[in-house]
């Protein structure tokens, strides 16, 4: 298939991997964090570790939207769906994420709440138009990639005068989370594979602080397997040469200044939150957005006076450490025993971009071989 097969060519992959083997310093360890779940997924799905030297390790980052959403936000949404006569619209993965006490949006739906799976923010608008007598709430999540479509939906709702449409906004920002991981230093990493799709929106210049403040090499990488391997080679070279720069491997999509139209759209509708809780990372200042005063009419948190809810994570679940790059999924006692994609206990086992789900679904033979 054109524009896909070129980036999945096995011969080219082995050629690039051979260069990594040649250039790598056998005396040291290379720990590279892939920030995005999309990269984690590609690494496991295509078996990229199998091509890498022993002393190069990928450390999984927090860039999976459903993984970092704290259970309290899902509980708040369930409470809203159960107490008010609303139609709650959301993306599929979120339906299965565990909230407190084994509950989830899926279970709330089975109990009778009107919770609908949609494919885009414009689907939520369509539901609102088709049900003028009912309140429709779009449970919006994601990084900078999914934020502009939410902003667009809110703008359209205002232009059409849709009185029954609101957004429960949970959009988060990439650079603050990255800076937090770097400032804590606990993940012990030597370089970062930077986000692909997020970078198309925010641009490569958004990571300048990460490199200059923490002397951290960063390469913006595409999501295809050859992109990941080439970016890894670029990181190896930065480390070997003692450079700490933002480099852009994903030049076919990412510009230095990003997508300014999308940025303007976000700035028109959203404003930074003073603080937002991330699963695993805790409360991070200025790490998320909320709907601004001009569009406050479309803010579900305001219209329904939604309360902040706190929920403790499941006992034994090490998702927080996995999200911070400190632990691997198979170091968790629950991994593949109590916690599986069918019965996820932690959020990282839900989305295909979650590190635990990716390792469970594609990489279990590696754990099995190690055990033998």
């Amino acid at each position: 298939m054109k524009y896909v097969d070129e980036y999945r060519d096995g011969d080219k992959a082995r050629e690039l991997a051979a260069r990594i083997h040649n250039e790598i310093d056998p005396q040291r360890q290379y720990r590279f964090m892939e920030f995005c779940g999309g990269h984690t997924h590609a690494i496991f799905r295509f078996g990229i570790h199998d091509l890498m030297p022993e002393n190069l390790k990928y450390v999984h980052g927090p860039g999976c939207p459903v993984c970092v959403l704290p259970a309290g936000r899902i509980e708040a949404a369930i409470k809203l769906a159960e107490s008010e006569d609303v139609i709650l619209c959301t993306y599929a993965d979120l339906m299965r994420v565990p909230a407190g006490k084994g509950d989830s949006l899926n279970r709330a739906k089975a109990r009778g709440s009107d919770i609908r799976m949609i494919y885009s923010s414009s689907d939520a608008l369509a539901v609102a138009r088709e049900n003028p007598d009912r309140q429709v709430v779009f449970f919006a999540i994601g990084f900078e990639t999914t934020t502009p479509p939410t902003a667009a939906a809110i703008r359209i709702a205002r232009a059409e005068g849709l009185k029954n449409f609101t957004v429960f906004c949970n959009h988060v920002l990439t650079p603050p989370a990255m800076l937090h991981i770097l400032s804590s230093g606990e993940a012990c990493i030597d370089g970062i594979l930077g986000p692909s799709h997020v970078s198309t929106i925010i641009g490569s210049h958004a990571y300048a602080d990460c490199c200059s403040l923490y002397r951290m090499p960063l390469v913006i990488a595409g999501f295809e397997p050859l992109d990941v391997i080439q970016s890894t080679l670029m990181l190896v070279r930065q480390v070997n040469q003692g450079r700490c720069e933002v480099e852009n491997q994903y030049v076919r999509a990412v510009r230095e200044t990003g997508n300014q139209k999308a940025q303007a759209l976000m700035a028109e509708v959203f404003e930074p939150r003073s603080v937002f809780e991330w699963r695993g990372l805790g409360d991070l200042p200025a790490s998320a957005v909320q709907i601004n005063a001009q569009y406050a009419l479309f803010d579900a948190e305001k219209r329904f006076a939604m309360q902040k809810m706190q929920t403790a994570d499941v006992k034994g679940c090490i998702c927080p450490a996995v999200l911070r790059g400190i632990s691997d999924p198979d170091q968790c006692k629950l991994f593949a025993t109590a916690c599986t994609p069918e019965e996820p206990k932690g959020a990282c086992m839900v989305s295909s971009e979650g590190a635990c789900a990716a390792q469970y679904s594609y990489g279990r033979y590696r754990s099995a071989e190690t055990r033998v």
Binding site: M1, V4, F46, G47, Y119, S361, G363, R364, Y365
Partner: protein
């Protein structure tokens, strides 16, 4: 007798009441199109002769949404689905039963289209619908039409096809392109319509199976990879037989359009439903013979060996990727696409 206005009429509660309206619907629509000697007996139970030997039975409920999709509809699907389940035992399907749950307010003209398509599929397959039932539920309590069909068949002597017979060393064969049905359904689903040439592969596979068991009576396993796709079918067979599998991505046929749609929607063709394909496990020595027989049949032209059965206590399906790496091909978790069959 109440008159049935098929052109403009709607399903009413009375059509399921057992009274005159029910009789009019059965005579004017179901019996008229599905007509055959056994159905014409008109009794509560249909009588037929059986020969000595072994019989098989299988049942399948169909709730597909939308009811009409490129390459088929719920009517033809409900015939093919059950014929295939019977055929996957290696048996020759003989008769079908059909039970309809209709929603009040559903258009009789649409219902007739579905029944005509069912009759056509049944006639082409040579497997008549010999008994049936109709119930009507209130508006809002159904989704137009649900169809449940049951099939019975006879099994020739010496054939023992079962999911627990896969052995280390066996060959794994797939009859053709995978993922067509699921993508065809998806392309016509509300809120997600996209233009594609892809048609559902919905088809009755008993003719292909008859040729296969005749050529190689010792086929170990047969299964049609419907819900959950090829990945789920292979995992089921591993679990039942207590073995593992090693498959090769390069040998699995996926149309470029299906690959493209999957890339765009974040789906994996290995998990997409098929309604006219089968997976077969057979002794390695018989694989070449089986492939040539399958390729001679119109429904098996692209048949290929995609891997082999191995001894593996973990019962994993591991795939060599075209990229050169390896990965586990796991069971489907949750539902990738609801209501596909």
């Amino acid at each position: 007798m109440s008159r049935l206005d098929i052109k403009n009429g709607l399903v009413e509660m009375a059509h399921g009441s057992g009274g005159r309206a029910s009789a009019a619907l059965i005579d004017g629509l179901f019996t008229r199109h599905l007509d055959n000697a056994l159905l014409r007996q008109g009794d509560d139970a249909t009588l037929f002769e059986v020969s000595a030997g072994r019989m098989v039975i299988s049942t399948d409920a169909h709730v597909v949404s939308p009811l009409f999709f490129p390459g088929g509809d719920i009517g033809s699907l409900s015939v093919h689905g059950t014929i295939n389940d019977v055929a996957m035992s290696g048996a020759k399907p003989l008769y079908l039963s059909a039970s309809f749950i209709l929603e009040e307010g559903f258009s009789l003209a649409e219902l007739e289209k579905i029944v005509i398509s069912m009759a056509e599929a049944s006639r082409l397959a040579g497997v008549p619908v010999v008994t049936g039932d109709t119930k009507v539920v209130e508006s809002g309590k159904g989704d137009g039409v649900f169809i449940s069909t049951t099939g019975i068949g006879v099994l020739a002597e010496g054939i023992r096809v079962s999911g627990d017979r896969a052995e280390a060393g066996d060959a794994i064969i797939v009859s053709g392109y995978i993922g067509d049905h699921g993508i065809a359904i998806l392309s016509s689903r509300q809120g997600l319509e996209f233009d594609t040439q892809i048609q559902s592969d919905s088809a009755a596979l008993h003719g292909l199976v008859a040729d296969m068991v005749q050529a190689v009576p010792d086929i170990h396993c047969l299964r049609d990879p419907t819900r959950g796709g090829l990945a789920t079918t292979l995992n089921e067979l591993c679990k039942q037989s207590g073995v593992g599998m090693r498959i090769h991505e390069t040998d699995i046929s996926v149309r470029a359009e299906v690959k493209g749609a999957c890339e765009l929607l974040g789906l994996d063709p290995l998990y997409i439903a098929n309604e006219g394909k089968l997976a077969c496990i057979c002794p390695k020595a018989s694989a070449a013979k089986l492939i040539s027989v399958m390729q001679a049949h119109p429904l098996g032209r692209e048949a290929a060996v995609i891997g082999e059965v191995v001894a593996d206590e973990s019962r994993l399906v591991v795939m060599q990727t075209t990229f050169g790496g390896q990965r586990v091909v796991d069971w489907l978790a949750g539902e990738q696409l609801p209501r596909i069959c």
